[in-house]
């Protein structure tokens, strides 16, 4: 098992190196010179002299290989460089905005868990019942409405018409409700249906039938036998979507004026602020790789046979 864990953790390194290679290539693949983009964004007519000065300042005058190696060394020591636009270290810019993004992502995750577990469970045990129809409706809406549109609808209804909640911004618990719902709805849609299927399948398992024939109370069967077995696959799915959740905040943060890092990332794209873009993409890659690793290790903890199977394959 130890070897499997080591191998699994070790496999992260080449993936990260590849990610950094793509990040470095991004600058070269883009038809736009970041130095020029910086100057145009500042309403400065770029002269050759100032362009050369900016390129040297940004390290863009070096060869591709030098840029790649420098980036790897920098990122390995968590030095993300300096923003072209603000002139501040990327890490400072990230740390300033990341708490807001994490707050939003966690609120949405909690909301998704608190809503999808009871709803999915009830939909599963009462197939074609009220909760099943409700979950189907939510799944339909959650899967088909784009986040930004849902955001506008919620703002229009709850903020403008009913005057119950703020249009956007951050500060009080009421500010988090609408963005959290917007971000959580697609997750609720997905996990409710996942759990429902899982519950229905578990209910058909022989040990549930056996428990029934033994005369065990229905609530105990549902709680102890069905729910406990049906929830883990859903949690695995949640773990795998953690990265998606954080990157999904980009649109929601923009619509709800939420001062997080996703929104800042959009501005960085418009400004071609490469260090910010690289920093964000690298962190997102780390998060995706990390959460997938976490899920694998969790599954290993639940079912140690995975390590053996992995060993057999090798």
């Amino acid at each position: 098992m130890g070897v499997y864990i080591l191998k699994r953790v070790g496999s992260v390194i080449p993936i990260l190196l590849l990610a950094i290679l793509l990040l470095t290539a991004m600058i070269h693949l883009s038809p736009v010179d970041p130095a020029e983009a910086y100057l145009s964004a500042a309403h400065i007519q770029p002269t050759e002299e100032v362009l050369a000065q900016k390129r040297a300042e940004f390290g863009l005058d070096q060869s591709f290989l030098t840029q790649y190696v420098t980036t790897v060394v920098r990122l390995a020591s968590f030095d993300f460089g300096t923003s072209y636009v603000s002139g501040k270290p990327v890490l400072d810019e990230v740390l300033l905005r990341l708490p807001a993004t994490v707050q939003l992502a966690l609120s949405s995750l909690l909301l998704a868990i608190f809503v999808s577990i009871p709803l999915g469970f009830l939909a599963g045990i009462r197939k074609n019942g009220f909760f099943d129809h409700l979950s189907r409706g939510i799944a339909f809406i959650g899967a088909s409405i784009p986040s930004f549109w849902l955001g506008y609808l919620l703002i229009f209804f709850f903020s403008v018409q009913l005057d119950l909640l703020p249009v956007g911004g951050i500060g009080s618990p009421s500010h988090v409700i609408l963005p959290a719902i917007t971000l959580a709805l697609p997750l609720i849609a997905l996990y409710t249906r996942l759990l429902r299927t899982s519950v229905i399948e578990t209910m058909r398992e022989p040990y549930v039938l056996f428990a029934r024939t033994r005369g065990i109370r229905e609530t105990i069967i549902l709680g102890k036998h069905v729910l406990r077995v049906a929830i883990p696959p859903m949690l695995t799915g949640l773990g795998m979507n953690l990265g998606k959740l954080l990157t999904g905040t980009i649109i929601v943060e923009t619509v709800f004026s939420w001062p997080g890092f996703g929104r800042y990332f959009i501005e960085a794209i418009f400004d071609r602020d490469m260090p910010i873009i690289q920093g964000y993409v690298f962190l997102a890659a780390l998060l995706f790789i990390g959460s997938s690793l976490l899920v694998d290790l969790l599954q290993l903890a639940i079912d140690p046979r995975i390590a053996r199977k992995g060993g057999d394959r090798r």
Binding site: Q45, V160, P166, T219, T254, R272
Partner: protein, 537 residues
């Protein structure tokens, strides 16, 4: 499951749902109203964080916010008039190289320190430390010497005559004035300032990055005091969310170029619950035809394309009156741009077709696209994909020109790509808008005459291009006002008449505000804030 068990499980589920709702809903429903302004505070929405309050830096600092705190020596007023401001008068030597400014003696910085020639020189010297960065502003690279002659007299000597100097002193950055306490020890303000000390009517009061900024009145302000006590800037990046916040009443004012969509603006205007206003033209939207391309090298083809679309219907249809059809390549409310004698080319399909025929582009029987030497008349137009007006205009031109036998391919690109391709001369037709006040007309002619901006190459088929380029260089050095007027009256019509620069519409700023807001008036300077005289009932 028996009935009581079923009830119990439903009750459990409902309880969980209720707890969740409570958990997320434990708030004061009136909290959303905390933004609502009172009579002393004007709240406006802005798409980006105001950035650093430093008068000598660029992005991400927002021009309107910098102009609230820092002031210029010269003020750009309506019609391009240059009025005294922190300098009460100035004298220009006969050779056009020495500028002597007499400063006002009643100006104090917001911290109470005195504004005098020494601090003016210190600010100029801080800017000159990064000469290359600021060299886009013509006079900066020509500054030879700065002197504080006495307390109220500042002198600047240029290496050569450059008439737009006074006009360029009116721009928002980089030559505005920071107080002594704001300077870092090494005097290099490009890396940041110690304090935001300016002479402007406002001082930054509270600031939360990406959330909001509030400005209060500068108690030491030398000029007329603003009517509202505070300005709050709420950062709302999304245009639709800005509209929703305005409708809710959280926001008193939205203003700017393309601050909200045309549809949203007209919709809000039609409700008659709010006040709306448009500015004078701030810039012209232009089509730049690249005469280096074979199809567009012939002036008759360029003219045919101008006759081949209905400008009035195009502009009014797409912008719903938010922009006005343009007759000139620069708005006539800028200096030296009015009363120009240019040839008007109104919608005339017949003329367009005959010009194309004359140029050798014939329509073969049974075909829809004209051909010459077996080549179809295909032209590509690029536009900024993020700007809906540009996209709609490109699509309309595509269908209009199809009727005269021109195959227009339209390509939406991101703004930085558009700028890059323009500079690299990789385009047939580009959409562009000029800088506006207080930069034009001199900045416009300067970039047309300079290598690497796309224009010089675009007009390369003009027979008189050498003479034009020389005139564009000379006009900036002319010290004689009458001669200058005459030169612009030759340059601008010549650029326009030969058809590579086609005026489409005049861009305007929009403003929408709640009924309680009074005296809203746009500043003549495109980049300045309009808060000086605003009141709230």
């Amino acid at each position: 499951m028996n009935v009581s068990r079923r009830k119990k499980s439903i009750i459990q589920a409902v309880s969980i749902l209720s707890i969740t709702t409570l958990l997320f809903g434990c708030s004061n429903p009136n909290e959303g109203a905390d933004n609502k302004s009172d009579q002393d505070t004007l709240t406006l929405a802005w798409p980006r964080d105001i950035g650093e309050m430093n008068p000598h830096v660029y992005n991400p600092s927002q021009l309107f916010a910098q102009s609230m705190v820092y002031e210029p020596l010269v003020h750009y007023a309506e019609g391009g008039k240059l009025e005294p401001f922190l300098a009460k008068s100035w004298d220009i030597s006969k050779d056009g190289k020495t500028y002597t400014f007499t400063l006002r003696d009643d100006v104090k910085f917001s911290d109470g320190s005195t504004f005098d020639a020494t601090i003016v020189k210190k600010n100029f010297d801080a800017v000159l430390k990064n000469k290359a960065l600021h060299s886009w502003l013509g006079f900066i690279s020509k500054i030879d010497k700065t002197e504080a002659v006495d307390k109220q007299t500042f002198r600047m000597t240029l290496s050569e005559a450059y008439y737009p100097t006074i006009q360029e002193l009116a721009v928002v950055r980089p030559v505005r004035f920071l107080g002594e306490a704001g300077f870092p020890k090494n005097g290099d303000t490009s890396k940041g300032v110690e304090q935001e000390v300016g002479t402007g009517p406002w001082v930054l009061d509270e600031y939360k990055a990406d959330q909001y900024a509030t400005f209060k009145i500068n108690k030491n302000y030398w000029g007329p005091k603003p009517k509202v006590k505070k300005i709050k800037v709420d950062i709302i990046p999304d245009a639709e969310s800005r509209v929703l916040a305005f409708e809710k009443g959280d926001i008193d004012l939205i203003f700017g170029e393309g601050a909200i969509s045309v549809d949203a603006y007209n919709q809000l205007k039609e409700t008659k619950s709010y006040k709306t206003t448009m500015s004078e033209p701030v810039a012209t939207r232009l089509l730049i035809m690249n005469t280096k391309k074979k199809q567009l090298a012939d002036e008759r083809v360029r003219q045919a394309l101008q006759y081949g679309f209905d400008k009035k219907t195009l502009v009014e249809g797409i912008t719903s009156g938010l922009e006005a059809p343009a007759d000139f390549i620069l708005p006539p409310n800028l200096p030296y741009t009015s009363n120009l004698n240019v040839e008007k080319r109104d919608f005339d399909v017949k003329k367009a077709k005959s010009l194309l025929d004359e140029a050798g582009w014939k329509l073969p029987n049974g075909k829809k696209i004209r051909e010459k030497d077996g080549q179809p008349l295909q032209i590509e137009m690029m536009y900024d994909a993020a700007e809906l007006v540009q996209k709609a205009m490109a699509e309309t031109l595509q269908s209009e020109w199809a009727t005269i036998g021109v195959d227009l391919k339209i390509v939406g690109v991101e703004l930085p790509d558009q700028v890059q391709r323009f500079k690299d001369n990789k385009f047939d037709i580009n959409m562009y808008s000029n800088f506006g006040a207080p930069y034009d007309p001199h900045t416009f002619v300067n970039i047309i005459g300079t290598d690497g901006f796309g224009f010089k190459e675009a007009i390369s088929a003009y027979p008189n291009k050498d003479q034009l380029l020389q005139e564009m260089k000379d006009v900036l050095k002319t010290t004689d006002e009458t001669k200058r007027q005459k030169m612009y009256a030759e340059i601008l019509p010549s650029l326009q008449d030969q058809g590579a620069l086609v005026p489409i519409s005049y861009l305007k700023k929009m403003a929408i505000y709640q009924n309680g807001v009074t005296n809203f008036k746009f500043a003549a300077n495109r980049d300045e804030s309009p808060f000086a005289q605003i009141g709230i009932k």
